[in-house]
Amino acid sequence: MLTEQNLKKIEEIKKRYPTAKAALLPTLWIAQEQYGWISQETMKEVASLLILPYGHVLGVVSFYSMFYDKPIGKYHLQVCTNVSCQLLGSEKIVDYLSKKCGTKIGETSVDAKYTLSEVECLGSCGTAPMMQINDEYYENLTKEKIDHILLRSK
């Protein structure tokens, strides 16, 4: 269940829009922050909260790449491999991370510590290659830098 505090937050957000449906994305963000991902139960909970069909919520969750419909690792390594990063070696970054974290692209390591994803342009083209770990950007990546970052990810 969404916490009392989060329910209050959602009520406040609803006031910003003329329809409850418009609060769907913000509500899903709050739900994902609380649960770590968005399960079918969560989608049903959100649907009844905003008086929306469950199918609509499912449709929206599945459309947006940042809503997770399955659990992810503690650290979500999202490597940009689009052109500007590609030109500066993002492929090698992916290979190196894959080896270091013991996981393939799109998969989560056995200990559920790392999920490795290849993502589209994150707007860091001038500081390529880069990756995002959870909410943080890590730019101008090198193998040494990655070693350092992973050492700190306990």
Binding site: R16, A22, L50, E120, C121, G123, C125
Partner: protein, 431 residues
């Protein structure tokens, strides 16, 4: 290096703090605007010649004038900060270093169009910049610049931050509106245009972050003065994003119409190892590629780039040196559009996948000579046949890479299997 005056990203430390922004003349343009009639502001913006910085270069004043003056409906303004075009990383600089210019521009635009509610849509990945912008917005609210009866006038407008959730297509203005309404980011058929039927069926205008950040300076110095900066067809300063094979990548605020060679060599420090330039994408991944030998003399303005079949787009310049494998580059670009196609229109949904698969087999060494023509044919059948411009944006890279670098792709496909198989037999196999 001679520097032209900067107003989008001036070298002022802590400009993102409201008091620093105010000390440097911040919100003076908004105060000036509040003493003007709304039509006068729209005329001033029209006179400035300001064009949208989101990639389409649409005249901003004209766009604002489409909003109905008399309407019983609520009017809305959306600020598009769903920056996601590969090679583009400029709006985040404004959110980080000069968020109050964006808020001030939003307020002026809202006043000029009689807008009651503004939504600033920022891509979900920009967590850091969302926090920075929200802080600036909270400060502006606390100081009475936003909200009810602003600065003691009868003008009221709200600004809300709306966080995206990972979809390039939401940068398309009608998809952005659907996303705000709580739907999948599907672009809408136009007409009706947003100024008639936008958010919740009400008049709506959508402007890019950088476009709106230009508005305060236009009000302060006047449209005429603004129109004299840079290229006449696209006046003002613009945030150039330099990425790829350059020594000093980054965002540079300079007048429009600058020489592409100056941007690459003088500002971005040239190509590492003094290598030759093989290709340049001048305005974000959706603008057609140009060959290195075409760069000399080109200016970053619409007419000059049109002469080589390209466009200014978002001014995100991607430089590729002589060692770049262009098959790989195009494969990656095509994968992007395949991934980001919303799936509404068949030519784009299917075509982007076909183009990706054809390029994949060419890259893997399994391509046939006929694949290249097929690739172009698929691109030609997407272009112009979709609801929104993503289809065109997916087709243009393929078409332009084939126009400029066909040899490189031809060299990668196997000599035809017909060398060992009789022509008739191959034709039969094709069916």
């Amino acid at each position: 290096m001679d520097e032209s005056p900067k107003y989008l990203l001036p070298d002022i430390p802590n400009l993102h703090h409201l008091d620093v922004y105010e000390r440097h003349g911040g919100y003076a343009a908004f105060r000036k605007a509040l003493a003007m009639r709304p039509e006068e502001i729209i005329d001033e913006v029209k006179r400035s010649g300001l064009r949208g910085r989101g990639g389409a270069c649409f005249p901003t004043g004209l766009k604002w004038s489409f909003m109905p003056k008399e309407t019983p409906k609520t009017k809305y303004l959306c600020i598009n900060g769903d920056e996601g075009e590969p090679g583009t990383f400029k709006d985040r600089q404004i959110l980080q270093y000069n968020p109050h210019a964006l808020i001030e521009g939003t307020l002026i635009a809202a006043y000029a169009m009689g807008v009651a509610v503004c939504y600033t849509y920022i891509r979900g990945e920009y967590t850091r910049w969302i926090k920075l912008f929200q802080k600036a917005l909270d400060d502006a609210y606390a100081k009475g610049y936003v909200g009810r009866n602003i600065l003691g006038t009868s003008f009221s407008t709200e600004i809300y931050l709306h966080k995206g959730a990972g979809a390039y297509i939401c940068g398309e203005e009608s998809a952005l509106m659907n996303s705000i309404e709580g739907d999948r980011g599907y672009p809408r058929v136009k007409p009706p245009f947003p100024a008639q039927l936008g958010l919740w069926g009400c008049p709506t205008t959508i402007n890019n972050v950088e476009t709106i950040a230009n508005v305060p300076i236009i009000l302060l110095n006047g449209g005429d003065s603004y129109s004299k900066v840079g290229a006449p067809k696209l006046p003002g300063n613009i945030l150039y994003g330099l990425s790829g094979h350059v020594n000093r990548p980054g965002v540079y605020e300079l007048p429009t119409g600058i020489l592409l060679t100056d941007l690459i060599h003088r500002y971005a420090g040239g190509v590492p190892g003094n290598k030759k330039i093989k290709a340049v994408i001048p305005g974000g991944s959706s603008t057609p590629v140009i060959r290195g030998d075409q760069v000399e003399g080109l200016r970053m303005e619409p007419e000059s780039l049109k002469s080589v079949g390209s466009a200014v787009g978002t001014a995100g310049v991607i430089v590729m040196d002589e060692d770049t494998d262009l098959v790989k580059v195009l494969l990656r670009l095509t994968k992007f559009y395949y991934h980001e196609s919303c799936g509404q229109c068949t030519p784009c949904r299917e075509g982007t996948g076909w183009m990706w698969r054809i390029l994949k087999r060419i890259n893997d060494g399994d391509g046939k000579p006929s694949d290249i023509d097929m690739l172009v044919e698929v691109a030609n059948n997407i272009e112009g046949n979709t609801i929104c411009a993503l289809g065109d944006a997916a087709a243009w890279p393929v078409q332009s890479f084939m126009k400029c670098f066909r040899d490189e792709f031809d060299n990668r496909v196997k000599p035809s299997a017909s060398v060992s198989v009789p022509v008739a037999a191959e034709a039969f196999a094709e069916h």
